[in-house]
Symmetry: C2
Subunit: 234 residues, 2 copies
DNA sequence: ACAAAAGTGTTCCTTCTACACCCATGA
DNA sequence: TCATGGGTGTAGAAGGAACACTTTTGT
């Protein structure tokens, strides 16, 4: 029944897994064990299997590359990349997914023995295999936008987190400092963004901070304002 | 070189072409000439061809179904749909594109003799072939969001348009009335949204309105505020 | 003259911005 | 006691929401 006159191809699912780690926006990369691009860094991914839908494939790849189940992080479809020639092995179209993860215990190497590790986005940008530089650029852009309009910044945090940690997420992802007082007010006055637990957490130094958990709100209305990117008037 | 152990499939590109027409949000649908779903309405689309990238395929389909070149409207990738079983002919993954078009001269029938026509979104929702109801729902949601944060409302208008026409785009896509005075102020004070031509346009009745063209700005900052969708507090 | 759509101003309120000090803890 | 990060209030500015009347044309 399959119509032979149309192009047949393979479908890959690639993951841009972002986290905030050591005050930097980092991405999970693997070192490619085989050609093409042997030894180069790339985003984790793999081919779609029979009977699997796209988000199942993304979740499976995620599990294979990290110790995480898809429940403990945010996973959304990013964009699909299908230029002919993007994969030297033949016609491969890739559906990219964006994951926002808390600062994980170091991911184990993937089951296929490729070594997976975190790398700062700025240090791998421009060096990835295939068209993964483009995917990563789009992923970072999407993540930046998500912080403006949604409550997804909390997806970068552990189950319990302080407002300072949440603010650091914004500062690291946007690459700009924010006013702590204004940020606190905004976050606390946005119904459903974060919920107070009664706990506090002490650190090496400084006053212990109150711990919060994610609220139920999905959207930030009005959005979290991001200062103009230096191409703004007035 | 093609690795046979991985799933091979066909890739479709489907188009959700939206316009504002007769005070309604309408979508271009075709009546399917062949099985599966013969006689049912569906979004226009087709299979990816050899050597073609995704946006080329989308532009080609657009040209085949309407008289438009891709230049005179906005075309963006929407989302990719790949559930197994979404197409009874076999494994087909579809990359959906969203187009925002001005009120076009009635589109010609597609070259493959399927009749293409505009239909109000509300009247076809829930009746389309394949998973096109889902695609259309996502397309409308994306379009609604685009109006909030970008200047793309003008993509629904002709080259020259009045502020009233632009406001009607918002009202029709969002399904709510807007205050004309506040809308005028917002639009005129947002640098680069619209540019004044010195022309005016008379209609059957009423005072002639000044004509504008699209400006160069891509983003609306701050965004155009959309009243809460009735699941808001306070 | 009248019907129809365009255009215009002000007040109030909310939210953003900028800014400086005290608090609670560990070393 | 000091170093460190947490937490708080206020005044000014900008933008959003609500609201009614005058202007310009065709008939």
């Amino acid at each position: 029944m399959s119509d032979r006159k149309h192009l047949h191809l393979r479908l890959a699912v690639d993951l841009a897994i972002l986290t905030v780690r050591e005050e930097l926006l980092q991405v999970l990369v693997i070192e490619r064990a085989h050609d093409p691009y042997q030894g180069k860094l790339a985003l984790p991914g793999g081919f779609l299997r029979d009977g699997e839908n796209l988000s199942e494939a993304a979740t499976r790849e995620l599990r294979e590359e990290t110790d995480l189940d898809g429940n403990s992080l945010h996973l959304e479809q990013l964009k699909t990349y299908g230029d002919p020639g993007r994969d030297p092995r033949g016609r491969v179209v890739s559906v990219a997914y964006l994951a926002l993860a808390p600062d994980l215990p170091i991911p184990r190497a993937g089951s296929d023995a490729r070594s997976a590790h975190w790398a700062p986005v700025t240090s791998v940008a421009g060096t990835l295999a295939f068209d993964h530089d483009t995917i990563l650029k789009d992923a970072v852009e999407r993540a930046r936008g998500r912080l403006e309009y949604t409550t997804l910044a909390a997806a970068f945090c552990q189950k319990r987190f302080t407002i300072g940690e949440l603010r650091r997420v914004y500062e690291v992802v946007w690459g700009i400092p924010l006013d702590a007082r204004n940020f606190n007010r905004k976050v606390l006055h946005t119904e459903g963004f974060i919920e107070s637990t009664k706990e506090k957490r002490s650190q090496d130094t400084g006053r212990p901070a109150e711990l919060y958990r994610r609220g139920t709100a999905q959207w930030l209305r009005p959005p979290m304002m991001r200062p103009p990117t230096a191409d703004e008037k007035r």
